[in-house]
Structure formats: C-alpha cells, structure tokens
Symmetry: C2
Subunit: 414 residues, 2 copies
C-alpha cells in the first residue's frame, strides 16, 4: 500500500511552523508496513488543494490529510474532498453536542462557523476528537482511502492513539516502544541484527534519539490478545540480548524512571553539579511530584563554591583540580550531607570548548554517594560539542542511579 | 514570484526527521517577498524525483531543492536536474580541493563517491559550502531558477547565510532580527500596527517563540549601505514604540545577553531556585564561558534545603509558606552570601499541577539581591502548563536582571 501525506495550512508555507505532523504520521505508517512516497504541503487555497488531492489520487492509495478542519472560512479540507468525491456534508450529532457543551461552559451560543466543525463527509467513519472540537474522518472511495485529521498536533496525535489501530483494515495493530540507554544505534542494530532482519510480524524498528535509542515493536493479528502475546515474545528476545541497556517503555524518560524507582524504594536524592550546571536537577524537577524524592542540588560552578557550599577541601582542588575522581567523591558526599538524603549524584568534568583543568575536553566524573559508600564512573565523550557532553553526562548520571537502585521494577508500560 | 520547496530524502518519508529545512527556507523566502505555494518531500528515487521536479516546473518559477547532494549512490539530485535540463556535470575545482584537503587530514585518498560531491551542473553558479563538502548551486534555465542545497540543516543554513542575499536578483537583501521579551505577539502587533501595515520595503514580520517574540526587518536596495540605512531607520521607529521589551539581535538568547551584560559590568551572579529546580542555572551554564560570571546556584526544592543550605528561617517558612515574597528575599540574600557574588536571583512559586502552599498555581516570586538591597517581582501565569510556568519564570528572571544592569549596552548584532 502506497501513501501520501498532505498538510494544509498557509502557516506552514510561511515558515511559522514545521510540518512535524508528517513526521509523526510517517513513523506510524512505516510501523504499519505502509510506504509513504510523498509529503505535500499546500496553503488554504481551494484551487491548489484540489490540484494536490487530485495528484495524490494518481499516485497513492492511502491519502492522509492534516489541517483545514477548523471553524474559519480558510478551513476547506472537508469541502474540497467532498466535492472531489461528489458527496455531501452532514452534521455529526456527537460532534455537534461536544461543541455545544463546550460553548455552554463559556456561556456562548454557537456561530455558523463553529457549527461547521461538526460537519462530516457522507459515508465517512467519524473519528472522535477527545482533545478538541473538530472530529477526524476516514472514508473509502474508488480505490482510495482518505483519512482527514486536524492540524493541531495534540489533536492529531490523540485521534491516532484512539483510532489508528482500527483505521487500516480489519487486523488489530499494536505497537510497543522499548527505551535503551548506554548503547548506540549501530551497536544495538548489530546485537539485534538477526532479529531485525527476520522479524516481519511482529516487526522491530530502531529510532535514534538524543543519546538514546528506542525500538518500536509492532504486531498485527486478528485479535488483541494475539498481538500482545506476539509483542511479549519478541520483547523477551530483545531483552535477552540488550536488556542491560533497557530502562523503560513508551514515553518514559530517564529522569521520570529515576524518580519512580526512588519513590518505590523510599529513597531521597540530591545533586552536586559542576559542568552540567543545574541540568541534572532541572531534568528531575521538570516532572510534577519530583519533590518527594529530589530534595535539591548545589550548582557549584566556581571552585570557591565547591569549597564554601559543599565543603570540598581547597587542598584537594589544588592538588587534583576540579576535574578529578576525588573531587567528584567529595562533591557527592558533601551534597548528601548538606541535603540529608539517601543518595547524592555529583558531576564534574570538562565540557569545553577549552580545558581549564588540564584534563581533556570530554572527560567527566560522575560519583554516586550512598550509606554503603561512594562510587565513581569515569566517562569520556567526543570533545566536539559542549551541549552534547552536558546532555550525555546528565543522562549517564540518571542511568548510573537506575543501575544502582536495581532492575526489578522497571516502569510499567504507559 | 512563486516558489516550491522540494526536500529529497527517504529518511523524511520514514519519519526519522522532520522537514525543518522547508520551514527555514519558507521564512527566508517570505522575508524576500516570494510566495511559497508548495512543499514537497520525495524519497531517493530517480523516477519519483523526475516527476516531482517536472510538476514543480509547471507551477513555480523558483524551485529550491534540499538534499541528495551527498556522496552515496542514493544521492541523485544533481543528476536528475541536469538530465531534465539536458546539461552535463563537471568537477568544480575549489570543491574538489576542499574534499582533497579534508581527506588529507584523515590520511585517506578520494573515492569515486567522494569525488561525486565536487560535481556541479554546467552553467550553475557554485555556492561554496563552508560547513561541509558538497557545494550548493544556483542556475537559470527557461523561465525557472533552481537552487540546490545540501540536506544537512547546518550546511544548508550556512550556504544561505553566505549567499542568499545575492541569490534572488540584482538587489541586495539584508535582514535584521530584533528580539523582545515581556510582550506577547498580539500586544506587539497592536503597538506596531501602523508600522507593520505600511512597511513594505523595509518590511516587518513578527514571529512568536517560546514566551518571546522576534521581529524580522528586511530591506532591499541596490547597495548594501542603502539597505543598512533603511534598517537603521525602521529599527529606531520600532524601538521608539516597544524598546523597553527589546533585549538583543539575531540569535542572541536571554541568558547569553545576561552573561554578556554582567561580564561587561564586572558583576558576578548566583541563583537560588525552588520551582525552577536548576533550569535558571542550566540555561546560563549551557553557554561556554559562563563561569567567569556565574558562580553557582542552590536548588532548594525541599523546605529543609531552604533552611540548611540558604539559611532561610524555619519560622518564616511556617508563617508565610515557601511561596511568598519574604522567602524569595531570604533565598536571594542567602545565595548571594553563600556564593559571595554581586547579584543573586531567587525563584519560588507554584508550578502545579496542584498547590502545596495554598497559593494559586502560577504564582511566582522572583527576587534580585544586590549590595543596594533586594527587590521582588510577583508574577502570575496561567495555571495550565507546569513546563510553561517554569520556562517563563526563568526567562522573567533573566529579564529582571537585564533591566537592572542597565540598557545602555545591549548585545551587538551578531
């Protein structure tokens, strides 16, 4: 099956936003074994929209259109597709009721434009939109399937999550994402080469993210139980190979898993940061509810701060420089005492672009202090990118924590 | 002039990356007064590339193609365009020399594929690529102009920066970006309504970014001096209206301007962060060379940390809660003493999703301590988004600093 993704919206052609919807949809369709041959972006212009959809009919079987379902005069997608197929539009009552209920909370009556959002193409399956007012729709005509989705990414994603597994046929499609850290994409591909080459259904697709890799496992079958069993079996095969690098499912992030794991173990955490300058703490506190685990951290960028705030000895700094194993240990133990926590992480290193300590740029020490003692990890990153050295240091520190709290209760699938 | 932007690359159709190049180019072309009518993405497939370029010839005068200029067998853009125009390819000697010099540093000899990167279409103007090995090119044929650019965003942007102002005709095009904080896009549009409506050359275009707005001023004329004078005049008109919200030019960021301004004034800085949890410090330390200004900061998420680390009085916390004007003051003064700096910022507030202090979610206090005393800003944000409350608090704190170090020496244009 060949697909084309069409995004409608003049804001895309003006460069106000990027067409991230096409990326999201492409990954989903690839997951489902559908080849996307083209993305097209067109403005809110009837004539050009007709041309683009007509062209897509010539070269694709599945046509996914995002945008142009809203309430304004510029929103023409439904009208254009209905006209091309010689179909009418009618009010979808559940969508109408949702709009009416929404307006009632604002003490407003419905305008004609707002009512327009409840119109759907005759014969289409309506895809309810739990994140907004304009529903999506799916319809078959001649040899084509059309899927119309709102342009707001949050709404589009919600509709896909709610409907997509039934959109593309009678089979049930389920996918599961496994997240890995501490292994590069090519190393992971090598370790899983046989599985990736032979797995068709369920299939495996790797995606590289910032210093991480995620694997998407996808199974198709005629009932949900069967797809889940297929995914369970494949997941076990994957984890037998690279389980030591696995840290969570779906949208889980390393700091979220750290907080979850500490919370379950009843452990509190503090940080002492030099080169990462608050990024380790910030990643944790980005997550609501961090405060019951994370008590705080000291950003000690200047050497004087390491001495005054964390009690690192000046002689140690003089003898070994701030970028050293022993200073990392002293920082971690200082933070653990200052914040009165069970665990404390310290990060010190050379982020560059030039070295102040004499150590090579990219050298990082990560210490973990706990009641049983303090351990240190020496890390070496390529020296070319200051931001990447900081980012990877923070993630390595999270992963060091995870390895030391135990693997037994990885975060549940979301 | 009508334009179409074509991106070539199967990785785009697989959803591995988003087509951010098209966004960047669209903004540039809009700036130059050129209407972009379509974006198209096509895979590394000769037949489909021919179809897409042929279609673009029918509907656009300017055809910008990104991607497919690299060394692999899959990279077909030059070959496809040359074939369609009935032109040959020849080696561009400067590009060849660059590749050879690069390989020499790696002690390697040139392969045929690597040599392919030095090939350019006959009759094309070569656009040197200072950020990579494959040059871009611009050529005119029949009624069309073709601009071919590498797909790597960094290389594409560099070529545009180096060549774009001469690419689109005999006129010189110059643009200048002014950055604003503390004013929304619609308020800024209102204040500048007359200017934006009447300004054609030079023109003004506003772009909303995370809690910021940037204005792009663009002038076209037949020599550079004239464009710069036009930009200077328009800039002055803009600043007369909304100058109090202006903080820098081009790619300047708030923390970069803070560091620059502090450095010039010989001031050192520390931070005490509760709700922002290290994000203020992390934004500063992201920038190379922060250490001569920013000494460090205390992340004091738990109340006990506010007491133990910063010396905030427990009775104050009991009486006023952590989200209060007086605790913000005590935190700022505690950080200033602990880190021995000239300035210290403190941030405390309710980021939500629920309130622990009894204060409404979205209430934030930002204190600035200096030798002359401590001032506090009370901020109120919409309660709907924890991440946005944290982000805006951090940016408001940077802006509070800027306002207090003085406006006389805003960062020079980059």
């Amino acid at each position: 099956m060949k697909a084309e993704i069409i995004a409608v919206g003049s804001e895309l052609l003006l460069g106000e936003i990027a067409n991230t919807n096409a990326q999201y949809l492409s990954e989903w369709l690839a997951t489902c074994g559908i080849d996307v041959h083209y993305h097209t972006v067109v403005g809110d212009n009837r004539e050009r929209m007709v041309e683009v959809v007509t062209r897509a009919q010539e070269r694709a079987e599945l046509i996914v259109i995002t945008g142009g379902l809203g309430p304004t005069e510029d929103d023409l997608t439904k009208e254009v597709v209905a006209d091309l197929l010689g179909r009418g539009l009618h009010v979808d009552q559940p969508a109408y009721d949702r709009i009416e209920a929404f307006l009632k909370t604002r003490e407003r009556v419905m305008t004609d434009n707002e009512r327009k959002q409840a119109l759907v193409i005759e014969g289409a399956d309506v895809l309810t939109n739990e994140a907004g007012l304009a529903p999506g729709m799916s319809l078959h005509a001649d040899k084509h399937q059309y899927i119309l989705l709102p342009g707001v990414p949050r709404e589009m994603k919600r509709i896909i999550a709610d409907h997509f597994e039934h959109l593309l046929g009678k089979e049930t499609i389920k996918s599961r994402t496994l997240r890995f850290f501490g292994i590069g994409e090519s190393a992971l591909n090598d370790r899983l080469a046989d599985l990736i080459r032979t797995a068709r259904n369920p299939s495996i697709a790797p995606y590289a993210e910032l210093a991480e890799v995620r694997l998407r496992l996808t199974a198709k079958a005629f009932d949900e139980r069967e797809t889940l069993e297929m995914l369970d079996t494949l997941e076990q095969q994957v984890l037998d190979e690279v389980g030591t690098h696995f840290y969570g499912y779906g949208d889980a992030s390393l700091p979220a898993v750290v907080l979850d794991r500490c919370r379950k173990a009843g452990l509190t955490l503090a940080a002492a940061e030099s080169l990462t300058g608050g990024a380790f703490a910030s990643g944790l506190t980005d997550i609501a509810g961090a405060s019951d685990v994370f008590r705080g951290g000291a950003v000690v960028y200047a050497d004087a701060a390491k001495v005054n705030v964390l009690g690192v000895e000046q002689t140690l700094l003089d003898e070994q420089t701030a970028v050293s194993r022993d200073v990392a240990i002293a920082m971690a133990e200082g933070a653990r005492a200052l914040y009165e926590t069970d665990l404390a992480i310290a990060l010190t290193g050379e982020a560059g672009p030039t070295s102040n300590s004499g150590q090579a740029v990219g050298t990082v020490y990560c210490a973990l202090a706990q009641a049983s003692g303090t351990q240190v990890l020496e890390l070496t990153y390529p020296a070319f990118d200051r931001g990447m050295i900081r980012l990877r240091s923070v993630k390595d520190a999270y992963f060091m924590l995870l390895k030391n709290i135990g693997h037994s209760d990885v975060m549940e699938e979301s």
